[in-house]
């Protein structure tokens, strides 16, 4: 990977939330929500950040956009030939960069202001960024509505008149208003009905092809992720446990957690589940992670080393990263 086509390079990203107890609010611990995450995204590609609830994927995404300040690490964002570290940039210098990175939210019902008409929702970022001329703005909004396949006749309607899928189109149009390079989409289809999910996924693929967008796609659903991403990073308790090209990761996972996730994903084929791996116990507590590999209490391949030593994320083949002491020796089952 040459350095020049990297749009986002995340190094050692951490977000720890303090736990305070008692009358004096004394610090009694840390929730290590994101605990040393590193990856980079090439311009024009989709990297999926997947994991179950509490794995830190949303927190990581929010730190990357500086919606919340990270505790440590670097978020190097390259735009117009210039690289800046979003993690440490003063707020004032951050502001003009915000137009280059936008977010699409999970819930299209709560992420749109119910008192604004669709045209104003989509046009608001334009107004804030200095497009004061009403007619100009209207023209751009109309263009954006066409882009996401919303009839421009809906300009003056309120969000409540729209279905979930249409609302998500509105959210996408708003995110695209300022021609961003990077879109962070946090579970963009998980609140939608199946028959509408496919429409939005296809739209996101089309827009990426047409506009050269880069996506950081945060999701829990491995089936959805397979349809949109070039590469996948699997997170568990605040860390990336495996990162690889989509096809490779699904076909030949190297981390036992990836194997279990793939095996647990329901497939619409009756009688296909004979070999399911059902993990025991529950996801580790990020405030009190187990010693050694955080996955070892649920891992059926764990050895003594896994119980005592924390594995590091290592590149085991070009472009394949895995954090497992036994990577490569296990012969895990994939799908597809």
């Amino acid at each position: 990977m040459s350095g020049s086509d990297i749009i986002l390079d995340v190094r050692g990203l951490k977000k720890h939330f303090p736990i305070r107890r008692g009358l004096l609010r004394r610090l009694s611990g840390q929730v290590r929500a994101v605990d040393g995450v590193s990856f980079s995204i090439r311009r024009g590609e989709t990297l999926a950040l997947v994991g179950e609830s509490g794995c830190g994927k949303t927190t990581a995404a929010r730190c990357i956009l500086r919606a919340i300040p990270p505790s440590a690490g670097a978020v190097n964002f390259t735009i117009d030939g210039r690289t800046v570290d979003l993690a440490t940039l003063p707020r004032r210098q951050l502001r003009p960069l915000r137009r280059h990175m936008q977010m699409v939210f999970q819930d299209p019902y709560s992420s749109l202001n119910p008192r604004m008409v669709v045209g104003d929702i989509i046009g608001e970022p334009l107004l804030i960024n200095g497009m004061a001329n009403r007619a100009e703005r209207r023209a751009r909004v109309t263009q954006l509505m066409e882009l996401v396949q919303l009839p421009s006749a809906y300009f003056n309607r309120f969000p409540h008149a729209f279905s979930g899928g249409q609302r998500q189109r509105i959210g996408i149009a708003r995110a695209l208003a300022l021609n961003p390079g990077l879109i962070v989409a946090d579970e963009p289809v998980s609140a939608l009905d199946v028959s509408v999910q496919a429409q939005i996924l296809n739209l996101m693929l089309d827009l990426q092809d047409r506009l050269g967008l880069t996506y950081l796609f945060v999701a829990h659903d491995l089936s959805v992720v397979k349809h949109v991403s070039d590469r996948v990073a699997v997170m568990y308790v605040g860390r990336i446990v495996e990162l690889a090209e989509t096809e490779t990761l699904y076909r030949r996972p190297l981390h036992p957690y990836t194997e279990a996730l793939l095996s647990a994903a329901p497939t619409p084929v009756p009688g296909a589940i004979s070999s399911r791996i059902v993990l025991e116990r529950e996801i580790a507590d990020p405030a009190n992670p187990p010693p050694g590999c955080p996955f070892h209490p649920r891992c059926r391949y764990a050895t003594d080393m896994c119980r005592s030593e924390v594995p590091q994320l290592q590149e085991v083949e070009p472009g394949r990263w895995v954090s497992c002491h036994r990577a490569g020796e296990l012969g895990l089952a994939g799908v597809g």
Binding site: Q166, L201, D230, A264, P266, I283
Partner: protein
């Protein structure tokens, strides 16, 4: 096959509001058998949850069951009881000992002010005539059965102290407290992570095998249906548009909606970055229910005017039922000449 435990016939449940009538369930038929799972699948607004609530007689106001039959065959034979006409007092003896419900969101379905032990024993004390001590022992036994670790300690905890997966196990224990014959599980795993979902589905299958439970599994997830169901009812806007054995529904779907739905599901088997076939448009608002076949505005196999003006009647073939003019029922056409 033996007689079904529960048969729903032409069920109609409506909500009369100021803005109009919502026909949430508009003519649904299905059968539920001992030891088998009926999967009821559909998207939002298809009436799957209202169907479940109608069976239990707990439809929220202003909703009411307006027609049809909900026939429960009593244990040990005898004529079936129609739950749709049963008085509330008698329904109370059905909910729990005969039919029990597991909700989607275990957090919202528990009281936060009582321990889980209190909440499980409430039903046992009410229905089973056991003393306090015996009821507590029974509750611990139930928690153990559904795989709650250290049940004798957990029984004194409050719902907020449990993880989502454990709460759903407790919910299932509570539903099974009075040994029901039919378990209705309404999106039991939708709020859970995949690895936890796999655990809960395993548990339901295991309980069914051990106790011969009849399960009605309500979900929007075709993957869960494929894995769990023996029989399937596909619902769209208040109607079961297609019912049949799971293999038939997935391998030879007959209704255009079932076909389209199956094609549009993302799967882990797909080639990366492949576009999915989509269903045009979106689900209509229940106030704007299309005339004729409710699916016709989105249907890619529409026959023509008949679909816009007439409601397709149920067409029965062996073990299967479909409501679509592609398979017959066109008014005026002599039998045998239909497409």
């Amino acid at each position: 096959m033996a007689d079904p435990i529960l048969s729903v016939r032409d069920l109609h449940t409506q909500f009369h509001g100021r803005e109009g009538i919502v026909r949430a369930v508009d003519g649904v038929d299905f059968d539920v058998f001992e030891g088998r799972t009926l999967g009821v699948v559909g998207e939002s607004g298809c009436g799957k949850s209202v169907t479940a609530r109608s069976i239990l007689g707990i439809v929220d106001r202003p909703g009411r069951v307006m027609g049809g039959q909900i026939l429960l065959r009593p244990q040990g034979g005898g004529p079936p009881v129609d739950l749709a006409t049963l008085p509330q007092a008698a329904m109370r003896r059905i909910r729990g000992p005969e039919i029990a419900l597991v909700f989607q969101e275990p957090m919202a379905s528990f009281s936060q002010h009582y321990t889980i032990g209190n909440q499980i024993t409430e039903a046992i004390l009410l229905h089973m005539g056991l003393g306090k001590r015996a009821a507590r022992a029974r509750a611990i036994e139930l928690l153990d059965m559904v795989g709650v670790p250290q049940p004798d300690r957990r029984i004194d905890e409050y719902p907020f102290q449990l993880s989502g997966g454990l709460r759903q196990r407790v919910m299932i224990a509570m539903a099974l407290a009075c040994d029901p014959r039919v378990l209705i599980a309404d999106e039991p795993t939708t709020a859970l992570d995949v690895t936890t979902q796999a655990q809960i589905l395993d548990l339901l299958r295991d309980l069914q095998q051990k106790r011969g439970l009849a399960i009605i599994l309500i979900t929007h997830d075709m993957g869960v249906i494929a894995e769990m169901a023996h029989d399937v009812a596909v619902m769209y806007l208040g109607r079961a548009v297609e019912t049949g054995p799971v293999q038939d529904i997935f391998n030879r779907p007959r209704h255009p909606y079932t076909r389209a739905l199956l094609r549009s599901i993302p799967t882990v088997m797909a080639r990366p970055r492949t576009r999915l076939p989509t269903i045009e448009g979106s689900i209509p608002h229940p106030f704007d229910r299309p005339r004729g076949c409710a699916y016709h505005p989105r249907c890619s196999e529409k026959l023509g005017a008949v679909c816009e003006t007439h409601e397709p009647p149920p067409i029965d073939t062996e073990h299967r039922q479909v409501r679509c003019f592609l398979h017959g029922g066109i008014p005026g056409a002599p039998p045998g000449t239909q497409p």
